[in-house]
Symmetry: none
Subunit: 194 residues, 4 copies
DNA sequence: AATGAATGAGTCTTCATTCAT
DNA sequence: TATGAATGAAGACTCATTCAT
């Protein structure tokens, strides 16, 4: 996980910036190399090919993402608290790194099908966290027993993801984290017993 | 809307098939032309450029999509009935045209940023329908007054969209329409008063 | 055989000139295209890839080569006359097209193994002609019965080929066709009865 | 000649193996370095550049080659005996080192023109031996006076070389040295008085 | 309106060579 | 001597678009 090779991270961070600013299709390897301050060929000492940069980028960033969210959730007692923490952290993490937000919400999705399948693999880690919260909520009687876990998980992810995408599409004009209470309320109502 | 030039529709339908079967990036203009049974150059008599095919495709198909959903909703009395009808029709329309489902859920999303902004324009028609249902529900006291319309709309769209994408990604192995009750229940709980 | 597409021949002839003047490795596709007076992309309307240009070049030229030699041989009565005609024509054909000579003797041989195997396929046509002369000579009692056809064929081809290569390597300073009698004498002695 | 630096020979031997097993074009400097057990940069302490490895390889191996053949010939009395000894040794030396055979017959020939000219320089040592045998044969009245030395030399070299190449191309399936008598007979007939 | 041959700009990747250590 | 990480030049090929017919 802790890749001490400084150029590895250097290149990934450069890729995030270049892709966010130019879009996926206009992000030539040479542009990323320039931004990273290395030669074109150096990229290929750390990555197999261009797609590998994107997959690694997503793995690296998503790994941290899930890690941080898990930390946030850990202490919380109720499923509702956990869900709220997750929503807030999800929004906060993307709000504070708008380059990353653009890349994950817009640019990475225009990669080819194979790449997206690989990305989905990585997403499974996040889905796992969601599933655990839902099941925890059902156990604790906070959420309805009849809840279809898979559909509920899709709702939660779809709702948050759609909120972020809309925010990115609107040029991040408003405060994304402020949406947390509304989203949480909706989702809690959606899953909750009352 | 009613373009009587038969080749216009012919080319759009060819594009849906070619993109669904080959993926966005492997869908060259020449392939679409061949599938449509016209010469490459003929494409440019009906469309400004390649992106214009895709935007027109989306406009054309999404227009029909919204139209059909509106027809479905019209007669319904309660907001809940309207929402259920919308969910069911949304799922049904994509379930019955798997080429279109692949194109809208996977392939069209890997177009460039500009194209996706244009696509979002078209989506606004759908969002309008959603907003009307939400406001109708609030008026009728079916939905909570405090509901943030925009967030609620994102939840509804995000949830349905995520469900369809998951279904497409899983090679349409199960019956998509069967998910309607679960989704509806979740969303109604999310918006509802109880 | 008679490819009426003018660009096909145009490109092959351009390739012969460019390769002869620059060497195989310095013969970029763009250089061949320029020499042929077409765009780079046009090359790929007529040839699958760069190697295909070389294979086609060799097939085309070698086809004519064998054809012309066969014509020359046809009328001759004795094996010795046939052999002499073959030697003379082989030398004459390459002497009168020094670009082609450079390409066949030097440049084409530095292609990769796969390409050379393909080239060998084409050479088989020439070997067949040689084998027929040898067997004809044995039948007519001009050549020794014990002659190992394969070894004899290699000797004939190896001797002529080596003579041409030496001539090319020496910048074609002397008259190649003048070697015919000497070569013929050697080969006839090699195969002959006396 | 006697380079005591062990790495010099080490690298040359590595080059023979790598080129024989991977082909000329897939024999990167780094691969040769790895096979030799040294770092990439070390290569450049012993060789000026990549071509220099190949030329040195050829010089080194061809030097030994000619040396061994000269030893073989020395004791023989007649030109015919000398020629037979040369043919047999030539075939034997390549038959017993198939890596070297592949490299000399196939891979080294796809080097660039300049390199091949340098290789031809080295070959001159071998041609000298051939010329001496031919002249010796003429002096001794074994060979015809009228013999064109250069053409005869080309015949001898071309015939043997073609035999080896054919053998290598056929994956060394048969015993190469067994061809010696047939080849010798042909060449003796070619040069001889009878 | 329709054709389809021709165009040519644009980019990922390899690998011989260097040089700081 | 020896290392090996870093360099960066170079080139085959694709495909959206045009235009003469």
């Amino acid at each position: 996980m802790k890749d001490k090779r400084p150029k590895y991270k250097q290149i990934i961070d450069a890729a995030v910036i270049v892709i966010a600013e130019n879009g996926y299709h206009a992000s030539q390897v040479s542009k990323i190399a320039k931004q990273a301050g290395v030669a074109d060929g150096t990229i290929y000492l750390y990555f197999k090919n261009k797609d590998d940069i994107l997959i690694s980028l997503f793995k690296e960033k998503m790994g941290l993402f899930v890690e941080k969210i898990e930390q946030q959730i850990e202490g919380k007692e109720t499923a509702e608290e956990k869900l709220y923490a997750l929503i807030e952290k999800h929004l906060a993490l993307l709000a504070e790194d708008h380059h990353l937000a653009i890349v994950t919400q817009l640019e990475l999705r225009q990669s080819n099908k194979e790449l997206r399948l690989r990305i989905n693999e990585v997403l499974k880690g996040y889905f796992l966290v969601l599933d655990q919260i839902i099941e925890y909520g059902i156990q604790r009687n906070e959420f309805r027993k009849e809840l279809n876990t898979k559909v509920a998980r899709n709702m939660i992810f779809g709702t948050i993801d759609e909120a972020v995408t809309t925010w990115v599409m609107n040029d991040q004009k408003y405060d994304l984290v402020n949406l947390s209470p509304s989203i949480n309320e909706l989702l809690i109502h959606g899953c909750g017993r009352s």
